[in-house]
Amino acid sequence: MNFADSRRPLLGIHPLQWLVLAFVIALGIVPLSLAFTRLWAVTGITPWEAVTQVYELPAAKDALTFAVLEATVSTAFTVAIGLPLAWAFGRYSWRRMRLKRSLLFLPFVTPPIVAAAGFLALLSPGGIVYALGIDLRGETGIIGWMASVTGWEHPGHFIALIAAHVWFNLSLVVRFVEPVVAQLDPQWEEQLRLLPAGQTRLGRIQHLWMPILGPATTVAAAYTFFFSFTSFAMVKWLAPASNTLESLLGEMGGTAGIEGYRVDTSLAVLGIATFQTVMMLLMLALAGRFERKHSQVLSLHHETANRKKHGAAPTAWAWFANGLLVLLLAPLVSVVVASFRVRSTNGALAGSEWTLEGWKRAWSGDFSTVPVYDALANSLTYAALTLVVALPLGYAVASSLVRLRQGGHRRVAGMLDSLCMLPLSMSAVMVGLGMVAGILRWYPDLFSFPYLPVVPHVMLVLPFVIRLLTPAMERIEPKFAEQASLLSLSPFAFWWHSRGSFLVVPATMAGSLCLAFSLGEFGATYLVVRVGSWDSLSIMVDQVGSRPKFDPFVLPTAMALATVLMVVTLMVLTVNERARAWRVRHEV
């Protein structure tokens, strides 16, 4: 592990590290290139020609307009709500902070179909939102009035979608902004208050908070826009009359890339995917740029000082933050409740009864769905393998990027960093198509490989692992390595004392995020599972939940599976928060 004594022929990076970098970048580029090559071959026209032809499609134009609109509004609301929450969490001491952070992060790793089911339960008759007189689903009452006065089609569906996106992305704002608030040296604020520019709240916002929180907020906003723009399942269920480019691709994707069959679909997918990929790359490059700026700000400060100084949150802030957490939990609680409730119909009259039948069915499974414990075992196996593969790869890439930056090659590091983020820019349809095309071309027997779903999981979690480890490595003082080199240590001991021991906690956090993402991941697994027979818990939730619900026990069974998935994910996230708490206590 000690590369200090090795030869570094290119920009100070060991050949093995270059190899890992190349592998990680290839993991993103190869499926995408294969998908494009295949679509190009099937349609006989270039991606750019496809873009110009697809532009004529009314559905594609509508989808682009809708995606830009809903992503912009989602981002604005997420930042408007998330920023004060992050500020409150970073500034004050809170009881059960670990649990609160885990709960806040839970939506981000909840499979979209589970989230959509939770929201639909809230919005439907019998749900809390409906009981408050707000009919976002049926669009009667005030929402219906809004629609008729403004001529806006389906305002209720749009509001529901925005609420779901805010729910999903709020943790991003808190994750990025809260540490900056918490790490701000309290003296800065005190000193500013003595200056004329810091006498007013507006002045302090302008001269302290905006410069400090701006980069982190922008990064969070960029990712929020990105995730909202590519939203698929939420749009499908909450705004059924509308499409984003991603949901349009999802509808067409199945028949794409097959020679001599439905070539019109391949053409549409090629055009839409090309356009979306270019947009995503631009957004990611922008987010990466802001994020690098953000990590420089982070490195200046210390943890805990603010919370110690300001103590417990004032009542208003406590109500705001705790109330928001309760609201965030509402869709998830409705999922749990739905697992115990079954509709009972007697002619035209409908009611509901409490039952354990959904749980019993989930537990025993049937031949087309494995029992819940088998699905859970599959999910945990995939998650563990994802961790085992992604963490070392992420470490090696982050280490290379840091070394390049420290060696003055910031531009090269930035470019490589963006390339490593490529998997985030890809539509799930393209990942699936690329994988199928690639596997068929090179190694068809891989379809029989029992751990194939791990591949897309690794692809998708690697960018997050790299994003977590890179700033942590940048914070390690070079003097530790200098001091360790003076001692006659073995290569491993040298690495441990100069670097490894400082990364235990960030690596634990990255590891538990790997587990949580892998457990909840749905899109890419789904596309691989379609050509295999691997049942993970998130796939099972979708499979069972998509069955015709003539049989009233279908929904409780799906929700029981979703509840198991949520509880397991929450446990994993709590480990993550324990690691973070340990880091704070030990000032690592």
């Binding site: 919005l123 439905r262 007697n346 049937d366 069955r547």
Partner: protein, 371 residues
């Protein structure tokens, strides 16, 4: 952390008894385990494949089963096409007669060795070749909500053109023929319907364009159309139901299924316009290039057996293909099931030849209406 484990304990506790029940019900194989590897069945989530049914097959034959699930019939064809160079399944179950000819033309299926003499002859008239075995059937047709189509607000259509009138604006929903097999079957039915009507100046795609201009909703699959939009079905009790459509595409026996699950009550009924329904037959076939032929044939034979196929109406909500098949009398299943007098007149070969052109014409009609 401790409260979380308590929550987990509470959630898992009710299920402990079921685990024992499952273990008790395990059967002992009557034959030695087959060593050729599991029989890989590519299908969609067919309800007929119950634990008992597949378990019994495994016990009787010694073949282990591995299911590969696609979304629907279209998904099966797509997977077969995508993996044609390296087949991932031994047998494909669930291709219907709107997809079958494409699968045969692409060389995706191999000849089977299954006795079909006990299959209803009218079913075999559609396809009796060596590449596929029918296993269930049903008529795809329009269903409507009797409470909405009450003769005052809306009247029962006597022609498909009635649905393009202002009264029906925004009150119809169709699963897309691009992504749904019932949607595709109904689109094929409209082709036949407008070829055989009195008006020679218009065709099916003029009607579809008029429907889109009249606010017809299109969904990806049958489930969204029936559960979310259709006001006459069980979707009314499912969270997220919109109920904005009084008419949708489903099966002529869907009202019977509704009644069966709701104590002999339903507000839904079929629209039996002559020629506007499609007799859908689902098939199983051996995947060309796969190895486990003997097991695949054994499974198709089992699927056509009396004990499995007669129970299709209850287990798979479709009709059996065996001679003298009937719908169950219980809870109004048969009473509320309609049988069309005249289905669309389209041969399997013609569907195979022209389907792509029809889909393109349907897409163009939609684009024209939206432009």
């Amino acid at each position: 952390m401790r409260p979380l484990f308590l929550v987990a304990l509470v959630l898992f506790a009710p299920m402990s008894g079921c685990l024992l029940e499952a273990e008790d019900s395990d059967c002992l194989p009557s034959q030695e385990k087959n060593t050729e590897g599991p029989l890989r069945i590519l299908t969609y989530d067919i309800a007929a494949f119950s634990d008992e049914m597949l378990g019994e097959f495994s016990c009787n034959t010694g073949y282990d089963i591995e299911l590969i699930l696609a979304d629907d019939a279209g998904g099966i064809l797509e997977l077969l096409l995508q993996t044609q160079q390296a087949p991932q399944a031994d047998v494909a179950i669930g291709l219907d007669n709107t997809y079958l000819q494409s699968a045969i033309d692409f060389g995706l299926l191999a000849e089977h060795d299954v006795n079909t003499t006990h299959v209803e002859p009218s079913v075999l008239e559609r396809y009796s070749g060596p590449f596929a075995v029918p296993f269930d059937q049903g008529d795809v047709c329009l269903n409507y909500d009797e409470r909405e189509v009450d003769g005052e607000n809306l009247t029962v259509p006597t022609s498909l053109w009635n649905l393009t009138e202002p009264a029906w604006n925004g009150k119809t929903v169709f699963p897309s023929p691009l992504t749904s097999s019932p949607g595709r079957a109904f689109m094929a039915a409209t082709v036949s319907y407008f070829e055989n009507d009195d008006d020679e100046t218009t065709d099916a795609f003029d009607w579809w364009q008029a429907m889109f201009e009249n606010g017809a909703t299109v969904t990806t699959g049958w489930t969204e159309a029936y559960e979310i939009h259709y006001s006459g079905g069980y979707g009314a009790w499912v969270d997220g139901h919109l109920g904005d459509a009084a008419m949708t595409v489903s099966y002529c026996h869907s009202p019977g299924v509704e009644a069966y699950y709701s104590g002999n009550w339903t507000a839904s009924t079929s629209l039996l316009l002559p020629g506007a329904s499609f007799h859908q037959i689902e098939y199983g076939g051996l995947v060309n290039g796969s190895g486990n032929t003997e097991a695949a044939n054994a499974f198709l034979t089992y699927l056509l057996s009396e004990e499995v196929n007669r129970n299709m109406p209850v287990n798979n909500l479709m009709q059996s293909v065996l001679v003298n098949a009937t719908w169950p009398e219980v809870d109004g299943y048969r009473y509320h099931t309609d049988v069309p007098a005249l289905n669309a007149d389209l041969s399997t070969e013609r569907i195979g030849e022209e389907m792509e052109a029809w889909l393109l014409a349907w897409t163009n009609a939609k684009n024209e209406a939206e432009a």
